[in-house]
Symmetry: C2
Subunit: 458 residues, 2 copies
């Protein structure tokens, strides 16, 4: 079966595994998840030994100044409860409701002619993600639970670990009726490039990483891309903002976890707040060690702070136009004043990454206009941008946060990994044909009578 093109072999095997899996009951997928957990438990010492190899190689890179120690830390599977929570994650996903086989539309088109729109897997996923070895397990579990075959490419820094983890996954699958090529891991960028050409076999690419990673992939494939890229979130303090809410929401949005994509990078202040709420918010931010990049009005408003905060001179700087399109990912916040709600909405729409933006306001009309007018996956009222998260939203799991606008937007749960198909069944004596319907004499009319059903009856 092997061709001259190893990537094509991988893609074909994935598609064949997907198609075969469609005839296997979903309960087998749950069985596979528990088998993976058991297999990983058995392989624990080997996997952790491989992880130590990855860590040693990474340490050399860190010592040579070629890798950040933050990345090294993320590689480490031996720390704290990381291993156990990775295994627990498999059980959690196994216990979630099956996202496939759900009816979202059902209609009786004619006597004994029933239409059902039924959720089903997308097909073969190509998932490209960062160098955290536990993500291999997480993504494999999500793909299996939702009925998709998957080809996984993690960061090269975790290759040794990822290889053993995926060996364990394949060993577990081979104890079920699901083909072991249902989940495959690849190691090189060259394989990714080759796979991106194979739109005949691969149905969706899910890149998690930087904006440039997502754009590079969008540039190189006809396959649909569900991107998980940067977050450039903002908080807007409306004319009617409450002081306490303003301080709390801005501080939490910026400082709760600055490296997250749902942390705020920009603060937009209504001009009328420059002498009142803005200085109070600025003081709280400075006390939390936040660097402020201010436009002239917000900068000027801080010049007369009394008493001046100790770190005013080191932490308050003029912004540049580029400040407002920068994802700082640290304790830095760009600040601008705007003359009106409409101007604030326009500013956010042209500068944010359409991820999550929040308004602090006591005015229902302003809240409503902001939520409709700001063109982002999340529009919040008096709440921190940090709530934008699949677990916090109650999905039980998170594939990531999609920065795309179609199919799945914002935090993506298992629902984002399924599509639907239309099943039409004639129970009539002679089957159903379209030629019998129409406007002429003796022609039948469509009934379009709603059917109440959770699952398709076939």
């Amino acid at each position: 079966m092997s061709s001259q093109n190893p990537a094509e072999d991988i893609a074909k095997a994935a598609k064949a595994a997907f198609e075969a899996s469609q005839l296997i009951p979903p309960s087998e997928r749950v069985k596979a998840l528990y088998a993976i957990r058991a297999e990983l438990e058995t392989a624990k010492e080997d996997v952790l030994a491989a992880n130590r190899k990855d860590l040693q190689a990474a340490q050399l890179e860190v010592d040579a100044g070629r890798m950040s120690s933050a990345l090294l830390k993320r590689l480490d599977l031996t720390k704290g409860d990381k291993w156990d929570s990775m295994l627990q994650g498999i059980t959690d996903v196994a216990k979630l409701p099956d996202p496939t086989g759900k009816v979202s539309y059902a209609s009786e088109l004619d006597d004994e002619l029933e239409l059902y729109r039924v959720s089903c897997p997308i097909g073969v996923l190509l998932v490209i993600f960062e160098a955290r070895p536990e993500v291999v397990v997480n993504i494999a579990a999500l793909a299996i639970k939702s009925g998709n075959a998957a080809i996984l490419k993690g960061g090269k820094e975790s290759n040794e670990t990822a290889q053993l983890v995926s060996k364990a996954i394949q060993a577990a699958l081979s104890k079920t009726s699901i083909p072991s090529t249902y989940i495959q891991a690849i190691q090189t960028r060259a394989e990714v490039s080759a796979l991106l050409q194979l739109d005949r076999y691969i149905d969706l690419v899910i890149p998690r990483g930087s904006n440039s990673l997502v754009r590079n992939i969008q540039n190189s494939t006809r396959i649909p891309v569900m991107g998980h890229a940067d977050g450039l979130c903002s908080v807007y303090l409306d004319e009617s903002a409450d002081l306490q809410k303003a301080v709390r929401v801005v501080l939490d949005s910026k400082t709760d976890y600055p490296a997250a994509c749902n942390a705020a990078e920009t603060l937009v202040v209504h001009e009328s707040l420059l002498p009142t709420i803005w200085p109070a918010v600025a003081k709280a931010l400075l006390a939390a060690d936040v660097q402020l990049l201010c436009d002239p009005p917000t900068l000027f408003a801080l010049s007369s702070l009394s008493p001046p905060p100790a770190n005013l001179s080191t932490h308050v700087h003029p912004s540049t136009p580029g400040s407002y399109s920068t994802e700082h990912l640290n304790l830095t916040l760009s600040v601008t004043a705007q003359p009106s709600l409409a101007a604030a909405i326009q500013f956010i729409n042209s500068h944010s990454s359409h991820h999550t933006d929040s308004i602090v306001t006591e005015d229902q009309h302003a809240a409503s206009a902001f939520c409709r007018g700001v063109d982002s996956a999340g529009t919040f009222v008096n709440a921190s941008t940090r709530f934008a998260d699949g677990f916090r939203y109650g999905f039980g799991t998170e594939v990531g946060i999609s920065t795309g606008r179609i199919h799945a937007r914002g935090p993506v749960g298992l629902e984002g990994l399924v599509t639907y198909k239309y099943m039409l069944r004639s129970k009539g004596e002679t089957g159903h044909i379209a030629g019998e319907f129409g406007s002429g004499e003796g022609k039948k009319q469509y009934k379009h009578k709603k059917i109440i059903a959770d699952a398709a009856p076939f």
Copy 2:
């Protein structure tokens, strides 16, 4: 405001119009639809005069052998009730339920912290379609109803008509509070190429046409593409097929409207039917003037037909491997015999365009396996493939039939032109911050209590 790049001006204007429209109540969009109808009624004579110019130019092309007379016929807006049904189509779309503002998920995350997932427009659509001038009106109506701005490019053969139609649409919009650049028409492929680069302003490309058009567009843009391409549909006659259903379903699927994308192109016959049902189906197809391209077993089974149909020698030919990946779009049908249901499913999955495929069977298990195993937007039981259609499915309208697998699959109604956003509202005394939740002492837990709501309360 005009730049060196006219396409960028168009795209920017569309985005600005979209953003402005988000603050206008949806009722204004319905008002705009009635205004367009009125404006077209006023402009009727001018539009039809422009249409006659297009027709004259087209006639020269037909005379010179450079255009088919079928295409010329599709250009003609003066024939029969085409004009009136174009206007009626606007009213029909106006009367459909608003697809925006619908809540599909709502959860109380904490006391006084409510999350709503609310349907909303996608943004700016770039729609590329065939040379039927009434489609400009149809697509404009769908875009406006669903709250999207749109840039429209029809076939160049209908340019004169399309220009006057879009002038009328803009005139009508200028009588509402919706910006007149909400709907813009472009004329050239060069403009399309330039627009495909502007993923900052354009959110979705909808090409309706050939597979090669869709692939070319997918190759040249980072913008998501919702393709409406060819249909290579098949009918499978299962071992347990009923003779009458087989004849009716195959005949209707092939002959009801052979040029449609939901017409059948391939017939797959279970081997056991070669001496029984297949000859009867073949006789009916030959009587309906259908050309049959047969593989050796199905060909051989017809050699002993008695009495032999008069057109046996002119209408029955050996197939080639290419026959099974050809969309004939006329009275030609490719036929193959397969040894089992599993082989039939595999054959269809590797040859069909994943549009719509039908099984004729009396066996519930076979029906169920076919519907799950065939990886197509529509999987039918004892029903003609011709039912795959937005109107027949009861959507009231049809954007087209998506051959893509994500966002919208199969016949697409207004639902396919919306996405969703998450609105989160804190009604608490002090707003809501993420840092108060977690597993430590004094930390709050998420409630995730379902909220029953049809519309978001803000």
